[in-house]
Each structure stands twice: as C-alpha cells, then as structure tokens.
Amino acid sequence: MSVTPMSAARRGVAHAAIAVVAGVSLACIATDREYWPFSPYPMFAELVPTQPYAEVVLVGVRREDGAEFSLRPHKYIRPFDWSRQRVALEQLLERPDGGAAVARALADCARRYEVRRVRHHGPALSAIRVYRLEWHHVNPRNSASVDVDRVDRRVLLAELTVPTEGR
C-alpha cells in the first residue's frame, strides 16, 4: 500500500505539539519549577531529615472521653487525602495571618468530618488539634522508633473547640 504524505498543516500541528510537550517539560526540569501538569517531578527528591524526624498530624478529641484519635484516614478528611491535607495546613501555618487561617481551616475540617459522620461512624468531636511530633533518636532499621508512643517532643500548633450541638 502506498504511503500518504502528511500535509503541511498537519506537520505544523505535530511540531507544535512536540515543541510544547517536550519543550515545557525540559524547561521545568532545567528550572526546577512546576507548572501543572508539567513538573520536574521532585517527589522524594529531598533527603529525609533524621535529626529530628518530624511530622505534622491532625487529631480529633473524642467528646465522650477526651481521648485523641488520628484524623489521617481519608474517610475523615474527604475529599482531601492526608498528604494534601497536611501540606495545606502547613502552608496556612506559615502565613502571616496563620492563626486566623488555621482556625478557619480546622473549622472546615471539623464541619466536613461531622457532615460525613453518618457514613464513617467516627466518634463525636469536642476539639480538633494540629501537632508537630518530633523524634530525636530515629533508627532507620526500626519502624517502631517512630511510633506515636515514642515521640520525644509534641508541640501543639493549633486547636479548635467544636461546639456541642444544641439539644
């Protein structure tokens, strides 16, 4: 079967697509800058800090007994996943108006949790807290060295009291 040559217009379209896709991808790699969906893909590129090893966590406080529990599961923070929720909170904490912004963010987290509580069956909240947990003696060969009960320092970054609904 004979070969059909491409028209000049179609070659132009192809070259434009090549220039944009390859060009912008290479530019992002060269400049280490992100322009979604183009990226230099820096996931896990930074060395994980070891001294200390730190983590920001979001916890709820159970109304019935005051015990804390992790709000990490997706069902509690939907539509966020934990990675996105954590980074969003960290960015808000860094703002000049961080206090007000984080309070508003926690109120939203609590509201979304409460609205979906009929589905995820989590306990009623009396408060919601953001902590920074630090481990000062991490053994990379032992995952138990970063257990919650081995935290060396716990810093309360923000807290919001969840009002009781009127009875």
Binding site: A17, P37, Y41, F80, S143
Partner: protein, 304 residues
C-alpha cells in the same frame, strides 16, 4: 544538517499503519474511563475558601471551583467523552472534550494545597491524542465512513507515529526529571546515605521492613532508581534500553505501589504506548492462523 533532518523525520514521522495508534486510543481511554468511573469532584465545592491555593493555569485563567451541580455535569460529560473516545465515536470532538475537561477535572484538586503528579501523564497524553488522527482506524467513525462512502483503507503515514512517539518522549522526560531532581536536591547522598531506609520508615509493612534491614539493598535500590530514571531517554533511541529500562521502570512503580501504597496506576496504564500493538496483533493473528491450518490439515499416512 540533512542527516539531522532525516533522523528527525525517521524518529517522528515514520510511515506506519493507523492500527497501533488506534489500539493505544482504545486502551488509553477505555482504561481511564474505567479507572476514573468513581471519581467525584462535587465534595470540593464544599471545601472552605481558605484552602483554595490556585496554581498554574487555574491561577492565570482565574478558574474557580464550580457548584456541586456544575462539577457533576462537567465530570459526567468528561467521563462520557472518554468512552466516546475509546469507541472512536465523533473522535475529534470527543478526544478534544476529554482533553479540555481533563485539564479541569484532574487539575482541580491540585489547587487545595498540594499538587499531586499521579494524573499529569493522563492530561498530557489526552491532549496529544486530541491533536492526532487516532480515530482513523478501529473506530465507529471509520465504520460509518466505510459504510457511507466505501472509503478505502487508510494508507500508512507519519500521522500515525508522532503521537505515540510523543507519548513515549513525555514518559521518558517524566522519569528523567524525577532522576535529575533527586541528584539536584540531594546529590549522591540520595544513594549513599540512609535516605532510602528513611523513605520506607513510615510505611509499616513486612516487605518494607525487610528491605530496610539490608543496607546494601537500600543503596542498590537507590542507585538503580537514579540509573533507570536518568537513563529513561535512552529507551527512545536504543532497543536494548527499551527492553531493559522500560520494564524496570514499570517494576519500580509496581514496587512503589505495593510497598508505599502510592497510587501510580495511571502511569502503569500509560506503558501501553511502549508496546507495538500492530506488530503484536499481526504476530498473534499469524500464530492463530498457523494453528488453525495445523488443526484442519488432512492426516498424512496412518490407517488404510
């Protein structure tokens, strides 16, 4: 200069039949129509504005979050467009709609604090296919054309090779970027420090815990990761690299999925662009025909 131009032509515009591109179209859109069937953007409409941190074209075009009803319509049309693209029904329009709406649907969650990279390859390859002639074969459009006008078979042309090539180039650059980022931000310490063990630390499963007990294995995995990521572009030019680096990248991403539960499934699907489906289908067809001939061939010698 002539040699460079000839090499460019051979790389991007080798005349091929439309079968490979058509197969990629069917598998790409069919797989992602299934993968994203349960995706629901509507809860994002209920998230407080304090979390709205627009990035990229959302910021420059001042795109916002629609109402739940609007998001519902957008995602429904997008999913429908992907199915139409898979079937090759109104292919030019359906692939264009898949690409344009995909930029919004898959991009929206990235404006709430953190950009994820799981879906970038889907968005970009959708755009590539929208600009291509991927509906010229194995499509409802083609069936109608042959029925209505008795259109002849589509001749081989470069039109059907550049989109697949560009998808391959995109994937190679993605991994290349990931490897360069590691070297840029951490240098060789990414390989020779305890970093790989520290990466696995939060993921408490028996496989990850077993790997971190072996420092030599952690360093080997780290070195291998950097090698295959930075070497990914070689797969575009050398057959030996295509047969070693691409499968290694696939295995690496499967490993990341199993050990760290990081959802790279969209990438795993996109490896389909590295398979020569027309060659595979031709060989399979020939093998089946040969097997049939052997099955129906008259017995030679035997009972008389």
């Amino acid at each position: 200069m002539t040699r460079l131009r000839d090499a460019w032509e051979r790389f991007w515009f080798e005349p091929v039949s439309p079968m490979n591109l058509a197969t990629c179209r069917i598998l790409f859109f069919g797989s992602f129509a299934l993968w994203y069937r349960a995706l629901d953007l509507r809860p994002w409409a209920g998230v407080d504005e304090v979390f709205w941190m627009p990035v990229s074209y959302f910021e420059h075009l001042r795109l916002g979050v629609g109402s739940p009803a609007q998001l519902g319509w957008i995602q429904a049309v997008w999913k429908g467009a992907m199915w139409c693209s898979c079937l090759g029904l109104a292919t030019r329009a359906s692939t264009a709609l898949s690409a344009i709406l995909g930029f919004y649907v898959l991009g929206l969650p990235n404006n709430f604090g953190k950009t994820h990279h799981f879906d970038t390859v889907v968005v970009l390859i959708s755009a590539i296919l929208a600009l291509s002639r991927c509906g010229d074969a194995w499509s409802v459009d083609r069936l109608f054309a042959r029925w209505r006008t008795r259109a002849p078979r589509v001749a081989p042309q470069g039109e059907y090779s550049w989109p697949v090539r560009l998808a391959q180039v995109l994937m190679a650059l993605i991994f290349f970027g990931a490897g360069i980022s590691k070297l840029r931000h951490a240098g060789l310490a990414w390989i020779f420090s305890e970093n790989m063990a520290m990466i696995f630390l939060p993921f408490s499963n028996s496989w990850a815990e077993g790997i971190v007990q072996l420092p030599w294995l952690c360093h080997l995995l780290a070195a291998g990761t950097i090698a295959i990521e930075t070497g990914a572009p070689l797969a575009l030019f050398y057959r030996w690299a295509r047969w070693t680096i691409i499968p290694s990248l696939w295995v690496m991403q499967v490993g990341i999925l199993l050990l760290m539960n990081i959802k790279f499934q969209p990438y795993l699907i996109c490896y389909l662009f590295w398979v020569r489906w027309d060659w595979l289908l031709e060989r399979t067809g020939a093998a089946l025909r040969s097997a049939r001939r052997v099955a129906v061939a008259p017995q030679s010698g035997g009972d008389r």
